[in-house]
C-alpha cells in the first residue's frame, strides 16, 4: 500500500490507450478530444463531488499523492480525463475493426 497506487493505475490506463492506438494505427486529434471531453468531465466530476458529499464512496488517501481539491484527490479528477481518452481510443479501434 503506497502513495503511487492511484497514479500508477492512471499510468497503466494511459499506457494501454497509447499502446492500442499505436497498434491499431488510430490517431486522436487533441483539440477534438478536449472539446468532446469538457462536458463529460464537468458532469462526472460534479457527480463525484456530490457522491462523496453524500457518502456514496470515499477515498483511501494513503494510496494517493495527498493533494485534494475540495473533496476530490487530484488523481480522481485526472481519472475523468484519462479514462475517457482510453474509451475514445477503444471506440475508434473497434469502429475500424468491425466497421461502422
Amino acid at each position: 500500500m503506497a502513495w503511487f497506487y492511484y497514479i500508477g493505475y492512471l499510468a497503466v490506463v494511459l499506457a494501454s490507450a497509447l499502446l492500442i492506438a499505436n497498434f491499431a494505427k488510430v490517431k486522436i486529434n487533441a483539440g477534438r478530444f478536449l472539446k468532446a471531453l469538457l462536458p463529460v468531465f464537468v458532469v462526472f466530476v460534479l457527480w463525484d463531488v456530490v457522491a462523496v458529499a453524500l457518502g456514496h464512496w470515499q477515498f483511501g488517501l494513503q494510496h494517493m499523492l495527498g493533494v485534494v481539491i475540495y473533496n476530490q484527490p487530484i488523481e480522481e479528477i485526472a481519472f475523468f480525463a484519462v479514462v475517457p481518452l482510453f474509451y475514445v481510443v477503444v471506440w475508434e479501434t473497434v469502429k475500424k475493426k468491425i466497421g461502422k
Partner: protein, 88 residues
C-alpha cells in the same frame, strides 16, 4: 440505494443520448463489453487495495466481486457519454 438511483439515471440518460446520436450498434456493444471487462479487472484490484471504499448501504448490496454493481453502471455511463460527445 441512492447510488443505485444515480447510476441508473446516468446510464439510461447516456444510453438514450448514444442511441439518439445513431451511433453504430456493433461498436457500441464492443465498447460496452470492453469497458465492463476492464472495470471488472482494474477497478476490483484497486478497490480491493482500498483506493475506493463504497458505502454498500447506498447500493443494492451486490458486489462483483468487490465493487458494487452500481459502479459498473457508472463506468458504462462514462463510456457512452464520452463517445456520444466525441461523435457529436
Amino acid at each position: 440505494m441512492q447510488y443505485t438511483l444515480f447510476a441508473t439515471v446516468a446510464l439510461v440518460l447516456s444510453a438514450a443520448l448514444a442511441l439518439r446520436a445513431k451511433l453504430p450498434h456493433g461498436p457500441l456493444l464492443a465498447l460496452s463489453l470492453i469497458a465492463a471487462l476492464s472495470q471488472l479487472i482494474f477497478d476490483n484490484i484497486m478497490a480491493a487495495a482500498g483506493l475506493w471504499q463504497f458505502d454498500f448501504s447506498q447500493t443494492l448490496g451486490i458486489a462483483v466481486p468487490v465493487i458494487p454493481v452500481e459502479n459498473l453502471l457508472f463506468g458504462l455511463a462514462l463510456a457512452l457519454a464520452t463517445i456520444t460527445s466525441w461523435e457529436r
